[in-house]
C-alpha cells in the first residue's frame, strides 16, 4: 500500500478541497471514499453560491481552492444576486450541471500527481495513544498517514425518512457509514443528531412549462474564479411557480404521516431551510409559497424543485404536485426525503479544525454541523492547508473574523458550537461591509 502523509476520508465538497490542497502543497495524499463514481456529488440543489456562500467560494478561490473554478466551468446559468444593492451584499450564484461537476472534478483530482484515489468505506480511525495515525476500511485493510482529515458528510448513521417509512442510508441510494460513528464517540468526540432534507426531482418532459414563469441568467455573467478567463454562458432557463390553497389542504390532511410532526425525527433541522409542510404550518396566513424549477444538468431529464423539500409520503408528494398548475402530470424520478445523521460537537475543534481529544485528526464539512457545499469546501480547504502546515512544522493559517467569511465560519463553529445545521449568512459577519466578493483575494 502507498505510504501517505495525509489521509482524507470522503470525497464530498470538503474532502475534494482538502485532498487538493494537501497534494498541491506537495504532500503524498490519499483520498478514500465509499464510491469513486460519486466524487463531488451534490446531494441537494444543483447550484453553488448565493449570499455569503458566493463570498466563501471567492475566498476559497483566492486561497488556491478549486470549487470556484469548477463551478464556473460546469455552470449552466449564472446570476449576480443583489445587483441593485451595494457591493458588500452582492454575490454570484451558478446553476451547475451536477453530472458534469462530478465528472470534471474526478478527472481533475485524478490528474494531480501526489493524489491517490482509493475506494473503500472507512470503519475506524487508528490511533497511537492520542494521535490519529491511520484508518481501517471495510475490507480490513489499514492505511497510515501523519494526518487524517475526516469529511463523511451526512453519512454517519444516516437515516432517510419518507413519510413514516425510514431506512439507513448516507444519502439517496448510498449506504450509511455505521461503525465509524461509534468509533468517534468512543474517542471522546461528542455526537449529536441533526436533520436536513431535499425536495423531489421531476421528469422535465411531464411538466407543462407554459404555465410557469421563466427566469433567465445575467446578460454578463460574473465568474467565481479569478482564474476563469472564458466567457460564461447561460444554457438553461429556471422557472418559478407557486403553491396554492389546494396544495396546503393536501399537506394539512397528511400531517399525521409526517415523520417531523409525528415526532419520529428527533434531529434538529435548519430553521432557514424549512420543508414545505413546515412552511404551511408555520405561516398559515400565506396563501402561497414560491418554488423554483431548476434543471439538474444538460444531459439529464431531472429537474430539482427548489422550495418543496419534504419528508411526507410519496403519495402526498404526488398529490402536492397534482394541485399545482403545470405540474398536474409531473412524474417523480426521485422522491423528496428527510435525513437524520450524526454530527460532532464542533467546540471540540481547534481553530485549524484539528480535534482536541485526538491530535492529527481533522474534521471538516457536514460532520461539524454545517450545511452547504460551500461551507464544507471552505472547511476542507482550511483543514487540508493546516494539516500540511502542521506536518511541515510551520505556523498555521488562521483567518480572522474581520478578514474573511471563512474566519467567521470557523470561529462560530469552534467558539459557539452548533444547535441546528449551520449556514453562513452575511449578517453573521460583524465586518460585512469590508468582506466583499471583489476583495476576497486581499
Amino acid at each position: 500500500m502507498i505510504d501517505c502523509d495525509v489521509l482524507v476520508i470522503g470525497a464530498g465538497h470538503a474532502g475534494c478541497e482538502a485532498a487538493h490542497a494537501a497534494s498541491k502543497l506537495g504532500l503524498e495524499t490519499c483520498l478514500i471514499t465509499a464510491d469513486l463514481n460519486k466524487i463531488a456529488q451534490m446531494p441537494c440543489n444543483p447550484a453553488i453560491g448565493g449570499l455569503a456562500k458566493g463570498h466563501l467560494v471567492r475566498e476559497i478561490d483566492a486561497l488556491g481552492g478549486i470549487m470556484g473554478f469548477q463551478a464556473d466551468k460546469t455552470g449552466i446559468q449564472f446570476q449576480l444576486l443583489n445587483r441593485s444593492r451595494g457591493g458588500a451584499v452582492q454575490a454570484p450564484r451558478a446553476q451547475s450541471d451536477k453530472a458534469l461537476y462530478r465528472k470534471d472534478m474526478t478527472k481533475f483530482l485524478r490528474s494531480l500527481p501526489n493524489l491517490h484515489l482509493v475506494q473503500g468505506m472507512v470503519t475506524q480511525i487508528l490511533k497511537n495513544g492520542n494521535l490519529a495515525c491511520g484508518v481501517k476500511i471495510h475490507t480490513g485493510e489499514k492505511l497510515f498517514g501523519k494526518a487524517v482529515i475526516l469529511t463523511p458528510g451526512t453519512f454517519l448513521n444516516g437515516l432517510i425518512h419518507i413519510g413514516l417509512e425510514h431506512h439507513s442510508a448516507g444519502r439517496d441510494g448510498e449506504p450509511a457509514s455505521l461503525e465509524l460513528s461509534e468509533n468517534l464517540d468512543k474517542m471522546g468526540l461528542r455526537l449529536f443528531r441533526l436533520k436536513t432534507g431535499t425536495p423531489m426531482r421531476l421528469h422535465r418532459d411531464a411538466i407543462d412549462w407554459s404555465l410557469l414563469k421563466p427566469q433567465s441568467g445575467d446578460q454578463n455573467p460574473v465568474p467565481f474564479s479569478f482564474r476563469t478567463k472564458t466567457r460564461l454562458e447561460n444554457k438553461i432557463l429556471c422557472f418559478i411557480g407557486y403553491t396554492n390553497a389546494k396544495t396546503h389542504e393536501v399537506i394539512h390532511n397528511s400531517l399525521d404521516k409526517s415523520p417531523l410532526f409525528s415526532g419520529i425525527i428527533t434531529g434538529i433541522g435548519p430553521r432557514y431551510c424549512p420543508s414545505i409542510e413546515d412552511k404551511v404550518v408555520k405561516f398559515p396566513h400565506h396563501s402561497r409559497h414560491q418554488f423554483f424549477l431548476e434543471p439538474e444538468g444538460l444531459n439529464t431529464p431531472e429537474v430539482y424543485v427548489n422550495g418543496l423539500s419534504s419528508s411526507l409520503p410519496l403519495e402526498t408528494q404526488n398529490l402536492i404536485l397534482k394541485s399545482i398548475p403545470g405540474l398536474e402530470l409531473a412524474k417523480i424520478l426521485r422522491p423528496a426525503y428527510g435525513i437524520e445523521y450524526d454530527a460532532v460537537d464542533s467546540t471540540l475543534l481547534s481553530e485549524t479544525l484539528e480535534t482536541y481529544p485526538i491530535a492529527n485528526l481533522y474534521l471538516a464539512g457536514q460532520i461539524n454541523g454545517t450545511s452547504g457545499y460551500e461551507e464544507a469546501a471552505a472547511q476542507g480547504l482550511m483543514a487540508g492547508i493546516n494539516a500540511v502546515l502542521k506536518i511541515q512544522r510551520k505556523k498555521s493559517l488562521i483567518l480572522g473574523r474581520s478578514e474573511a467569511y471563512i474566519g467567521v465560519l470557523l470561529d462560530d463553529l469552534i467558539s459557539q458550537g452548533v444547535e441546528e445545521p449551520y449556514r453562513l449568512f452575511t449578517s453573521r459577519a460583524e465586518h460585512r461591509l469590508h468582506l466583499r466578493i471583489d476583495n476576497a483575494d486581499k
Binding site: L51, L81, R85, G86, A88, V89, F425, T426, R432, L433
Partner: protein, 455 residues
C-alpha cells in the same frame, strides 16, 4: 456555581443595634454548624426559620454571644447558593469575631461585591439589577431607593429587552431581504422608519431621565434668599429641626454659606443658607458672596424669604426679578408678629408664584411649607417611566441613540439596506452590554468592585 463558600459582614459597619454576617456557598451550612450552637440541643437547622443559639468558638470550646441564625437553602436565595445569615449584637468587634471563626471553619472572606457577583454569575440578576442593588444600599433618598428597587425588580431590564426585541425584529426583516434575494421579500422603508423612530424616542427618554435620576439621587439644591434679618437662618434651622445655636456663625469666623441635606418624606434636598454672608462687611468675604450668588443661580429652586412684619421694599422686588425663570416659593415670614406688609397685594403682583405665610420662630406652617417644597420642586417621575442613575448606562444609551439615529438618517437619505442596517446592528450588542449579557470580564470586574458587601 462557585466552588468555595464566602463570608462577610453584611450590615454597614458602625451601625448600632443588630448586625448580620452572611455566608454563601455549598459549605455554608456545614460551616455554620461549626460556629453556631442552637439553644436547644441537637436541634437541626430548619430552612427559613430563625433559630436562637450562640456563637461558638470551636478551638476554645466556648460559646460567647447570643445570636439568631437563618438558613436559606439554594436556589431561592440572593446568590442562588445556600445562604446562612447570623444576626447578633452589632458591634464591629463581635461581628468580626464571627467572620474570623467562619474563616477558620473553612469559609473565605468575600471580595467587595462578591455576593452580588455570585447572584449575577448564577443568573439570578442582570447587571442593571446588580447596579440597582448597589444604589439601594447607597440611596440617599427613599425616592432614589424606590427607583432602584423598580430597577431591581427588572423594570429597566424589561424595557431594554423589549427595545432589543423591537430592533431585532426590524433587523431580521431587513437581513432576510438581503440574504434571500431570490425570494424577493419586500421591506417597507416606511414601517422601518416608524419603528426606528419609536426606538430612538425610547432611548432618548432614557438618556434624558439621567439628569432627573441624578437630581433625585443627589438631592435638589435649594437656596434661601432674602434681605438680611428676614429670618433665613432661623428658617434654615426650623427646616432642619434643630437648635439655632448650632448654625449661628461665630463672630470673626469666615464662612461662605451653610449647606445641609434635609429629607422630606421620600425626597432629599440640599439646602443652602447664605445668611452668614450678608451679616458681614469684611472685604475678605466678597469672594464668598460671589460664590453664593453663583450657587443661587444654579439652584433647582429658591425659597425667597420676606419679612411680613416690615413694609415691603424695592429690594424684595429686585430679588424676585433676579430669580426670574427659577422655581420660587415666596415666604412671608414672621407672621406671628403684627403684619405691616400688604401680603395680599404682593401676592396679586406675582400670581404665578407659590407663597405661604410662616413663622420660622414659632414653627407655624413649617410642615405645610415642607409639603409645598415637594410639590413645587420635585419633578414628577411619571408613572411607568424608567429612570437611569448611572453614567455607564447613560453613555451606553447615548451610543445606542447615535447608532439608531445614524441608521435612520442613512435610510432617509436613500442608502441601501446593507449600509443603514450596519448602524442599527450596532445597537444590539450595546443593549447586551447594558444589561450585562455580553460583558467582557474587565467591565464586570469594574462594576462589581464598586459594591459594598452583600445586598
Amino acid at each position: 456555581m462557585q466552588e468555595d463558600t464566602i463570608i462577610a459582614i453584611s450590615t454597614p459597619l458602625g451601625y448600632g443595634g443588630l448586625g448580620v454576617v452572611r455566608l454563601s456557598g455549598t459549605d455554608a451550612l456545614s460551616i455554620a454548624q461549626q460556629i453556631f450552637r442552637p439553644k436547644r440541643k441537637k436541634q437541626t437547622f430548619p430552612p427559613r426559620r430563625a433559630l436562637l443559639g450562640n456563637i461558638y468558638d470551636f478551638s476554645k470550646n466556648e460559646i460567647f454571644e447570643e445570636a439568631f441564625l437563618i438558613f436559606f437553602p439554594a436556589p431561592r436565595t440572593y446568590t442562588r447558593e445556600d445562604v446562612i445569615e447570623i444576626s447578633c449584637h452589632g458591634s464591629p468587634v463581635v461581628l468580626e469575631e464571627v467572620v474570623r471563626l467562619g474563616i477558620k471553619a473553612g469559609a473565605r472572606h468575600s471580595e467587595p461585591g462578591e455576593f452580588t457577583l455570585r447572584a449575577y454569575l448564577n443568573g439570578r440578576i442582570d447587571v442593571l439589577q446588580a447596579e440597582a442593588i448597589h444604589d439601594i444600599i447607597h440611596a440617599s433618598s427613599i425616592k432614589q431607593a424606590k427607583i432602584s428597587f423598580h430597577q431591581l425588580e427588572g423594570g429597566l431590564s424589561k424595557k431594554l429587552l423589549s427595545l432589543r426585541e423591537q430592533i431585532i425584529d426590524m433587523l431580521s426583516q431587513i437581513e432576510a431581504s438581503l440574504e434571500f434575494p431570490r425570494e424577493k421579500l419586500k421591506i417597507s422603508p416606511k414601517s422601518i422608519t416608524k419603528s426606528l423612530d419609536r426606538a430612538v424616542q425610547t432611548v432618548l427618554n432614557l438618556v434624558e431621565s439621567y439628569n432627573l435620576g441624578k437630581t433625585l439621587a443627589e438631592g435638589l439644591t435649594l437656596v434661601l434668599a432674602g434681605r438680611p434679618n428676614v429670618g433665613k437662618s432661623t428658617l434654615f434651622n426650623a427646616l432642619l429641626e434643630r437648635e439655632r445655636s448650632i448654625v449661628t456663625p461665630f463672630p470673626g469666623t469666615t464662612r461662605d454659606y451653610l449647606q445641609e441635606k434635609i429629607h422630606i418624606k421620600d425626597s432629599v434636598f440640599t439646602l443652602t443658607d447664605m445668611a452668614g454672608l450678608d451679616k458681614t462687611t469684611q472685604p475678605a468675604e466678597q469672594e464668598g458672596i460671589k460664590k453664593g450668588k453663583k450657587l443661587a443661580l444654579e439652584a433647582d429652586g429658591i425659597l425667597l424669604v420676606l419679612d411680613a412684619s416690615k413694609t415691603q421694599t424695592n429690594e424684595d422686588i429686585l430679588l424676585i426679578n433676579k430669580f426670574e425663570g427659577k422655581k420660587i416659593i415666596l415666604l412671608f415670614n414672621k407672621s406671628d408678629l403684627h403684619k405691616k406688609m400688604n401680603v395680599e397685594l404682593f401676592k396679586k403682583g406675582h400670581p404665578d408664584l407659590a407663597s405661604l405665610e410662616i413663622s420660622a420662630l414659632t414653627g407655624k406652617n413649617i410642615s405645610l411649607l415642607k409639603d409645598l417644597m415637594r410639590e413645587k420642586f420635585v419633578p414628577s417621575t411619571g408613572k411607568s417611566e424608567e429612570i437611569i442613575l448611572h453614567l455607564r448606562q447613560k453613555l451606553l444609551l447615548e451610543s445606542i441613540y447615535s447608532a439608531l439615529k445614524l441608521g435612520r438618517n442613512l435610510l432617509m437619505d436613500g442608502y441601501s439596506e446593507e449600509i443603514y442596517v450596519e448602524e442599527i446592528r450596532k445597537a444590539v450588542p450595546l443593549i447586551g452590554e447594558l444589561t450585562g449579557e455580553i460583558l467582557n470580564d474587565d467591565i464586570l470586574k469594574e462594576i462589581f468592585k464598586s459594591f459594598c458587601v452583600g445586598k
